[in-house]
């Protein structure tokens, strides 16, 4: 295992070719990791290797290349499953968190009856709101929300769960507020009320050890590209007994065992949910990303993220006329901080920071209802990964003074 220390940071950053890029003739300071992380050469090489050495389709060819591709593809499945402590049968590859959640919404809601309820929180990313909302409208279901307080903490004592609640779906870590939600506790509440429990792990799985057996969630959705992997691939974990009962989301090749003109016998798990030629290169890249993360160690990644977040909160609090959103305590946050400079629009802040080579996100972070609730039009968000340093955060905060200078 490689530890993250100041002495080996330079070496670790060398694995990420893009980090040596210059932007507007300045060193790139990449603090937009909640949007997507950078890719180490190990991941890029794994994808290139597939296309240059054994490109072919999986699960059908009897030739050497297909055999190799199938082994590597299934190996990737196993690696990702193991990463969250699930069985490989319970791990479905999807296009990403959004598709995972759509799969669930389409597959689960058809069995619900009018008046049944789905419980979400007021801090969900659009991808854990819009699929439920739209299907709820179509099937006459009702959406309910666990409220948040002014610091972005869930009010669990007054949650509207009841015997009509069939599904509870919650972000593990909020992509805008940074809040880490007590998902284990929420899962218990859901199960006591006989509801299924879904966790949106897009912002948590990349940053801390996540164990589906320990969480006792029924489903967990996450994306590869937020954890060093390529875009266009992600995963959905589901408990075996639930996945077996569920309807497939997509129909077609590879998800079948036997097809007649008038009926079809579906394939075994997880392939029942993976119709069509899969994203083979993406899966192999995802596997390589997980290898890399395991090499660093998720506990180390979590600790480094917390150190950076503490440092960022301290430094940003020193900047005058700046307000921070979300939990006050760094240890209740994932490694991200959303903020605004008073009287300066986040779009202006973000684009002026770009002049200095700093990549941060400005906008509503796909959480429009949450923004509206807090009477905001948007925020600037700095989000970190294990290749970021305290010096980069210092550079961000000193550059914010320059941004303020422009508006003086």
């Amino acid at each position: 295992m490689v530890t993250i220390t100041e002495s080996n940071m330079e070496k670790l950053r060398e694995d990420f070719p893009i980090l040596s890029r210059r932007i507007h003739d300045k060193k790139l300071v990449y603090l937009d990791n909640s949007a997507t992380t950078q890719k180490p050469k190990q991941v890029i090489d794994a994808i290139t290797d597939y296309y240059t050495k054994y490109n072919s389709n999986v699960h059908r060819g009897l030739h050497k290349l297909s055999e190799e591709a199938t082994v590597k593809f299934e190996e990737a499945h196993n690696k990702v499953a193991k990463f969250i402590n699930s069985d490989s049968q319970e791990l479905i590859f999807t296009k990403g968190t959004t598709e995972s959640l759509n799969l669930l919404a389409y597959s689960l809601l058809t069995d619900l009856k009018k008046g049944d309820e789905i419980l979400l929180t007021q801090m969900e990313h659009h991808s854990n709101l819009v699929p439920w909302q739209q299907l709820a409208k179509r099937f006459g279901l009702n959406l309910k929300f666990i409220e948040i307080d002014k610091d972005g903490i869930l009010n669990l004592e007054n949650n509207p769960i009841n015997n009509k609640t069939k599904i509870v779906s919650v972000a593990h870590t909020s992509n805008f507020l940074g809040t880490i939600n007590p998902v284990k506790e929420i899962g218990k509440i859901a199960h006591e009320n006989n509801a299924l429990f879904v966790v949106d792990g897009a912002q948590s799985v990349p940053h801390m050890p996540v164990d589906v057996k320990d969480l006792d969630c029924d489903f967990l959705a996450f994306s590869a590209h937020k954890m060093l992997g390529p875009t266009g691939i992600g995963a959905l974990y589901g408990k075996k007994e639930l996945l077996e009962k569920m309807h497939p989301f997509n129909y077609g090749g590879d998800m079948i065992l036997e097809v007649k003109f008038d009926d079809t016998k579906f394939n075994n798990l997880p392939w029942k949910f993976e119709a069509g030629t899969p994203n083979i290169a993406g899966a192999i890249g995802f596997g390589a990303a997980v290898d890399y993360l395991n090499k660093i160690g998720m506990e180390n990644i979590k600790n480094h993220g917390l150190e950076l977040t503490k440092h960022a909160m301290r430094r940003l609090n020193e900047v005058k006329n700046l307000e921070i959103y979300g939990p006050l305590r760094a240890d209740r946050r994932g490694p991200l901080v959303s903020f605004n400079l008073i009287n300066i629009h986040p779009h202006d802040t973000t684009s002026l920071l770009d002049d200095y080579g700093i990549a941060v996100r400005g906008g509503h972070h796909c959480a429009m209802p949450t923004m509206k609730l807090m009477n905001l039009v948007g925020s600037t968000r700095a989000s970190f990964y294990f290749y970021n340093t305290k010096e980069e955060i210092d550079y961000l905060t000193s550059t914010l003074d320059k941004v303020k200078g422009v508006f003086k």
Partner: protein, 134 residues
């Protein structure tokens, strides 16, 4: 290539208009109003228009936006007073850049055109409504 290409956009007159926008406020008895929302960054502009003989008699806007969008809304509203609705319909994003006095890249096009988009949309629905009535 300029090292501070974004900062170049923030010229003095733009920052002045951001701090003290022109025609900012509520217009009583507006003939039509239209809101434009730019979801990528959260610019929000509502334009309100009072007409006289198919010409803009008075115009105001409210909203929250970045410096570029607020300056653009200020200059647009100031520029079209007394103009015919049909002439306003022909305005383009290039006209907006000329009006504001800066060139913007793809990341900021929506900011500079937000007020124009809402104005054109307002004119369209106003004229459609008028046709129905006549």
């Amino acid at each position: 290539m300029n090292e501070f290409m974004n900062q170049e956009m923030y010229m003095e007159h733009i920052l002045d208009l951001y701090k003290n926008p022109l025609n900012f406020g509520i217009l009583d008895n507006a003939d039509f109003k239209e809101r434009c929302f730019n979801p990528s960054c959260g610019d929000e502009v509502e334009i309100q228009v009072k007409l006289k003989d198919d010409k803009v008699d008075d115009i105001k806007f409210i909203g929250r936006g970045c410096a570029i969008s607020v300056a653009a809304a200020s200059l647009l509203t100031e520029n079209i007073k007394g103009k015919l609705l049909n002439d306003i319909n022909n305005l383009t994003r290039e006209d907006m850049m000329e009006l504001v006095g800066i060139e913007v890249g793809p990341a900021r096009v929506k900011c500079i055109t937000c007020s124009l988009v809402s104005l054109r949309e307002g004119i369209r629905s106003y004229l459609e409504g008028k046709n129905v009535r006549s």
